[in-house]
Symmetry: C2
Subunit: 136 residues, 2 copies
């Protein structure tokens, strides 16, 4: 799928002096049903996380704390997004190579995914991703 | 449901020098399918969040950053849990009154829920909760 399908999605923000609340519902704020949630933490400031792509997985990534950059690449175009607030996130459609870097110290990344873990859904090598991308 | 159904669930932790990763899958690490995710942030240090209970909702709460205390009350017994790490969380079954306090500055609470938002599922008043609890 082309890069234009990927986009920042603004989320509801319920203001409260005891803490603000933001919610995300399956097939509501995001265009898929949530099967899996993962979070990345204890990330050293400035760290990078290795690139990969998914064949069929839809994902939605939120900076729950701190900030980081996500560079998306559909094999033709690239686009960089800066995530820094927990009331918006980045929707990533299938067949997009992503690299994440520039983590601030103490940042926490949350990812909602449309399927449970499946190693066969991954492209771990960029050349394999590109071959599949241009095979169609 | 009695308090004994509520429990701390340890989550998988995948160690990586570029950041640790923890995941939660529907009907796998937790005993329900995820329909809704919400997070609470910008919480002033030491804040309390008002109590409530749910008629049918199952929830799982994780301290994504910082720490806080959750006191559960089934109308008969009470138990306090301290959440402080993102690789475990607290499962809360239906018909449990909960109060959350002692938030550390900058803490982030994430909650996974078994249903989408439904105001009719809430008990907002303790006396209403107790009446329903003891009506059966």
């Amino acid at each position: 799928m082309p890069l234009e399908h990927c986009r920042i999605i603004e989320l509801p923000k319920i203001h409260d002096p005891h803490g603000n609340l933001t919610f995300i519902e399956s097939d509501n704020q995001i265009p898929f049903a949530i099967q899996r949630v993962y979070h990345v933490y204890d990330v050293p400031g400035g760290a990078e996380r290795g690139g990969h792509a998914h064949k069929n997985l839809h994902q939605f990534i939120v900076a729950m704390s701190g900030s980081f950059d996500i560079t998306l690449d559909d094999g033709k175009d690239k686009k960089k997004f800066h995530l820094a607030r927990s009331y918006y996130g980045l929707y990533i459609c299938p067949m997009i190579w992503r690299e994440i870097d520039n983590f601030s110290s103490g940042s926490v990344l949350m990812c909602l995914a449309s399927e449970k873990y499946d190693e066969t859904d991954y492209f771990r090598r960029y050349d394999e991703f590109m071959r599949a991308r241009w095979a169609a």
